[in-house]
Symmetry: C2
Subunit: 392 residues, 2 copies
Amino acid sequence: MTGAFHPPLRTLMGPGPSDVPPQVLEALGRPTIGHLDPQFVTLMDDIKRLLQYVFQTDNALTLPISAPGSAGMEAAFVNLIEPGDKVIVCQNGVFGGRMKENVERCGASAIMVEDTWGTEVSLDKVEQAFFENNNIKALAFVHAETSTGVRSDAKALAAIAHKHDALVIMDTVTGLAGIPVEVDTWGIDCAYSGTQKCLSCTPGIAPITFSQRAQDVIANRSTKVQSWFLDMQLIMGYWGANTKRAYHHTAPVNAMYALHESLRLVEAEGLAAAHARHALHHKALVAGLEAMGLSMAVAADVRLPQLNAVNIPEGVDDGGVRAALLEQFDLEIGAGLGALAGKTWRIGLMGFSAKAVNVRKCLLALETVLSAQGANIAAGQALAAAEAVYQA
Amino acid sequence: MTGAFHPPLRTLMGPGPSDVPPQVLEALGRPTIGHLDPQFVTLMDDIKRLLQYVFQTDNALTLPISAPGSAGMEAAFVNLIEPGDKVIVCQNGVFGGRMKENVERCGASAIMVEDTWGTEVSLDKVEQAFFENNNIKALAFVHAETSTGVRSDAKALAAIAHKHDALVIMDTVTGLAGIPVEVDTWGIDCAYSGTQKCLSCTPGIAPITFSQRAQDVIANRSTKVQSWFLDMQLIMGYWGANTKRAYHHTAPVNAMYALHESLRLVEAEGLAAAHARHALHHKALVAGLEAMGLSMAVAADVRLPQLNAVNIPEGVDDGGVRAALLEQFDLEIGAGLGALAGKTWRIGLMGFSAKAVNVRKCLLALETVLSAQGANIAAGQALAAAEAVYQA
């Protein structure tokens, strides 16, 4: 017979999942009820309202997709893009490339605006792409690149798209609740995220929001959405306002309990306080890493506080260090992704993981493991540097 | 501030979700670890092996899709079907219609074989459809129609498809672990299911399996799979054997804990014992319902033991009865779906819900509520009839 699985107690400081608060895990394990139960419908209403809060939007079409963030991305493209459309896609990391795949699988053309991984999306290049191409249906970009730890200027990018009457599709999987996300103020037509980053919920669900303009585009499509599962016109029958909740698919009931609880925690803290907390622990972590002699991979003005890309020192065994952190300290940090594999580590401070105890643990563990590997680092400095930030 | 959500303790005897055992809920709430954690990889290996057992297959490509059963259906079609293909789709309920939608959204043609809802798929009509059409890529049918409670003869349907060299795509969302499913013996090329039926896990995940022949079809596609998220060639990089587990999307880690635990429970009971248990409680329930004077909507030889469609007696308020069952007894039974809305109730005996205590509760509650509504039923007979089955 197969044995039970008892996971180790990890500290999750990779690119997600982040540490999940006990309250959220407890909510997750509450007794399952039916997806059409009247009580479940009240939960759905709460979740929609709380998602409107975290996205800072009044969009009626704001809901959780019953699948991971990647499906959130796909939901954005398959609903808004039709064969023959042209989309400007900004790529400065892995996820811009995934957007390109999505656009092309919709039968549309992706006009790529490429920037060096680890730098932000260039506003000038986007302006240029709009001037060189007509009839652009949408501009798509990643607000917070999970593969590099870079924040791009979503507000300015959206403003460029508006000048050219294009829809704005924003990936904020890693952004939401970690840094300001202002869907209505910025004029984002579709934004999607994931639960396992700064919302500190378990992985598997993708919050998404569509503006009225985006809804109109969906309502006036000339072709059917290629995905039945992600077709918003069908999903609205279940999640929409003022309708009898019609069965579309069986909602992941328990995952909704957990999402509800994690959103409640964000609401209780308040978005501004959450952003300040992420910024503080980021500052302490960076101070510690730099005191140790490590260097950050991303320029200070575009760094994501919740995802810290660190250059791997020369001669250090990437996989060996991460394995030692996991084995000796139950600490997970992220490897580099795509072009940055073997070149950077990604240290997450997302949601519940963004706290001083994690910063201290990470600095001490990293110092211990790097010292054991004979890396050329300044020992004994990191913690004091971090504490100085906390005392300031 | 938003209040916490504490679900009521329901008895789930609808068409799914079914009652979830406490062990599975407890597993669900265990601490989250990373989706690339070496310990998570051992869990994935267990899950694949256990899914092979419940599907009765040696298929290497057997895994859980990170989304509900509807996405399992979509994964089957988008991977195996390409634009211009012809697929024979059997429809004898809601889900055959959903298959048609999937086929058409793949740019393929659906040749429909339609049977009256509440009856099984006609083998003769399927034979006929093959003789009237050439170059059929696949035959698609629903093994256990959740909307009507009908079992179709999967083995015989697959044999017809084999004669015509067509792939066999089988929906066994409601079948798996409730009645025999023999993927290899029957020669099913792709079968998919859901976690929230006879596996008695929380909803949100779709087990799926592809034969070697199906894998070859996928490997030799001339077009890209239209869904990035459901593209098996990409997913194999994460779930496949003998590969470094490459990131595709973030797996729903906690949902995998729950699935693992629910599969362990099936393994511990054994499939044959699980099938016998479903059959026994079905027999007792039907005896009780008929003693009460209610009639079954489906002929005895094609009834699904795990999903019992009952004709709603004339003059009875469908919604009122279900609401009273929920309010007075915390008991959920299912409404009719699609063409059967208002005509039948669907009483589930799926997985952990298939037990004598549920049968007794359901019979007594239904008798009480129907009597209060002034329905013309024989009171005081149902429980004895059910007990007679248990004593036999």
